[in-house]
Amino acid sequence: MAASPTITNISVSRTEAGAPPRHSLLVRVTHWLTTIAFLALLVTGLEIVISHPRFYWGETGNSGTTPWLNLHIPASRDTVPTGYGYTMPDQNGWSRYLHFEAAWLLVITALIYGVGSLLNGHFRRDLVPAPGQRSWSAIRAVFARYLRRAPDIEGAHTYNVVQRLSYLGVVFVLFPFIIWTGLALSPGFNAAFPWFVNVLGGRQSARTLHFLDTIALTLFFLVHVAMVALTGFWTRTRAMITGDTRSKEGR
């Protein structure tokens, strides 16, 4: 909360006079809060996974049953057969504390972003493909430009159709589903809302889907960072911090 006035000041002082910021204050603040929460959840989630690096479908699954997916990595516990003669360092305690605290940060940030974006028209204006972009040829044109490595002139001011569809998928599918499958793993929450886990096919299905969604989100994260790096890492990152619209190409 206390950081907001500072960020407002920077955006006003550094953006070219009259030009609106590249990203709204709401998007900039929630983007970085989400980044912090995501990285904390990813690292601690992997730490939790290595205590039992096997996945199952259905309600139950354990070292006595056959897994659907075995990661074939050493585990941090000796309660699971891995074929390795040793265990990895066990950091589950703080990883679990931080995982659930970061999950709260993610959920609260998502609520602020979701409600704010409905109110200020961010979804409608910036994420739903614009009228001229709603065609396969528009999508093909974006990929063709990516492959030619052609400069993206309008990219400094608006999202192209591939970006819009990717962000819609992340905002409305991958993130809600990671929260859903995560909540479905809480025994207390399950008691109150059993359908939350039952419609997924059971507890172990929820855990497996939580892991698969993590892979999807991680792939998005890697491609996203790669695209930012290819189109000018500092210019794009500065735009997401200060809202500055200036870019090397534009000057």
């Binding site: 909360m1 206390a2 907001s4 006035p5 407002t8 000041n9 006003v12 939790i48 996974v49 205590s51 039992h52 309600e59 139950t60 699954g61 354990n62 070292s63 006595g64 049953t65 516990r77 000796d78 309660t79 699971v80 589950n92 305690g93 703080w94 679990r96 504390y97 931080l98 659930f100 605290e101 970061a102 999950a103 709260w104 793993l185 809480s186 025994p187 207390g188 929450f189 399950n190 008691a191 109150a192 059993p194 886990v197 039952n198 507890r203 172990q204 855990r207």
Partner: protein
Amino acid sequence: MSLSRRKLITTGLAAAAGVAGLAAADRIAKAYGLIPPDGDGIYGPGETLTYATQRLLTRHSMAREFPRSMISEKPFGNELAPPIEAFKKHQAAGFKDWTLSVDGMVAHPTVFSLADLRSLPTKSQITEVVCEEGWSYVAEWIGAPLHHVLDEVGVAPQARYVVYRSIEKDWWESIDMADAAHPQTFLTMGMNNGELPVQFGGPLRLRVPRQLGYKSVKFITQLTVTDSMKKFGKGLGSASPEAGYAWYAGI
């Protein structure tokens, strides 16, 4: 410039309101017992949010129960430390002298034999054991609901927690009265239509099916009713937070 000043003032006021709101929420949470014993430190906000939300939303909800057909053919008993001598003596004698002493803030401190506990109204439930590592199994659990024992000894109205100890050294936990009085919290003596095997906590295990497996301590010998966890161990609620794990494991 005037616009940025107005924004600055609004943000400042919002921040001040936010801080005041947090302080008020903290007072209310303390008054209504919504702060867990390990609610201090860097993971305190996350733990408090989780515990308070669960207590407000799911205090009376019932853990999912399963049809008999879903009982796991291969329940997983987890690893056990080599038992102490006192346990081995009890085991050699067929546990006939095993006792559960109930003390603390109760009208009639009592020592129960297993026969005493069996003479209480016993119940059965088919619920899932959920380990923090990720694995799980479903079994039928037979025992005396803890609230019958608490009714017998007469719990003081200001009591807030029930502390329970294993015969094994340094293995102790506690639950709040919401979980202690919950109809599915069992002093478990039987499993799948037989005696509770030692591997699964026999002769006496406290099953808390709305929380992760590590709250269901094996080989129970003592219950202590208290109004504060400050006097127990390091004051964090149980041995789990002392080892780095969350006290509340209903997530």
